[in-house]
């Protein structure tokens, strides 16, 4: 393949520009329009948690029953210890054991 592929560079350039614009415009627009109180503030307060849940919930289900078990153990671990690192280890360990010994 031609090592200096202009189409590849074009794609990388536009995706990079678009991604940076998305990152910056979200922040700049919100600082312009968000007041201390109000619907928009509440909406943005919820965004981190809803965004994270939207990212992970379908992936948990895709793992099947063991995904649900791992998620439940993470929930328990967070409830008892509030340690994210420990919860991470519990979740990964559960999946690793299942894949090594039960499949």
């Amino acid at each position: 393949m031609n090592s200096l592929d202009l189409n590849a560079l074009l794609i990388i350039f536009i995706v990079a520009l678009g991604t940076y614009s998305l990152r910056v415009s979200g922040l700049l627009l919100s600082s312009k329009f968000v007041k201390e109180e109000g619907d928009l503030k509440l909406f943005l307060d919820y965004l981190p948690s809803t965004l994270l849940l939207a990212l992970v919930v379908p992936s948990i289900l895709k793992e099947g029953v063991i995904g649900l078990i791992a998620a439940f153990l993470i929930f328990l671990c967070m409830y008892k210890t509030k340690s994210i690192l420990l919860s991470l280890i519990v979740g990964v360990f559960t999946i690793a054991i299942y894949r090594n010994f039960f499949i």
Binding site: A8, L9, G26, L47, S49, E63, I74, V92
Partner: protein, 227 residues
């Protein structure tokens, strides 16, 4: 003055290990797909958004479908608009220049850990930058090693490492729990995510579920204060 940059860097190290392994997988894939090393490096530096890089590499071919690749990658990264919007409290005291400088380092990982820390502690945007640099470094080293060494981590799935992202993001979401008024919006978000991920191809469901879920919280809150 405490060192927010270092704190952010250290707080991201555990997830950085996962980022490293997944970077190495992308590196292996890239060499198989005929992506040049400098192209991979350009993506790492200027795009710096893992899942969209995976999609670009997967779509890599002898003839590149420019429009389809750009659209797919940007649709996946659409959520960074919401990520940026939610970082507003962190940048309250910042100049526009500082915002423009730091936002490139907002990734899923550094952002999530920053938002979580922001709940309990007064931190500056340097925390986000430190975390972003940590993820940047582990991602960069991982991809380049994977590209050169081939399959030195041949099957990260055996170690459950693909689940590390799910586990940490789920734990981070749970750590943001503020009270029982969160439960219903969270259930609504999850249901919408499940249903829309089933019907919508790609990752656009993430944006839809997050927007509708947050909007449901606003509606529920209004209804409550009217009672």
């Amino acid at each position: 003055m405490k060192n927010d940059f270092k704190d952010g860097f250290m707080a991201n190290l555990p997830i950085g290990i996962s980022v490293f392994t997944y970077g190495s997988v992308l590196g292996v894939l890239s060499s198989q797909k005929g992506v040049e090393l400098f192209e991979l490096v350009l993506m790492n530096i200027f795009i710096f958004a893992g899942s969209s890089q995976f999609v670009l590499v997967q779509m890599w071919d002898n003839t590149l479908d420019i429009i389809a690749m750009i659209t797919a990658a940007l649709l996946i990264n659409l959520r960074y608009f919401l990520v940026g919007a939610s970082l507003n409290p962190l940048f309250k005291q910042s100049s526009k220049k500082e915002k423009l400088k730091y936002m490139h380092f907002a990734t899923d990982e550094s952002w999530a850990i920053t938002m979580q820390r922001l709940k309990t502690q007064e931190i500056s945007p340097k925390f986000l930058l430190g975390g972003g640099v940590c993820i940047f470094a582990t991602w960069f080293i991982g991809t380049v090693l994977g590209y050169n060494l081939g399959e030195f981590i041949s099957n990260p799935k055996i170690f459950g490492l693909d689940f590390a992202f799910v586990a940490i993001f789920f734990a981070l979401a749970l750590s943001m729990y503020k009270g029982s008024s969160d439960i219903l919006p969270w259930i609504i978000t999850s249901l919408i995510a499940i249903i829309s991920s089933y019907y919508i191809e790609g990752n656009f469901y993430i944006v839809i579920a997050a927007i509708l879920g947050s909007y449901s919280a606003v509606i529920l809150h209004k209804r409550k204060s009217h009672e």
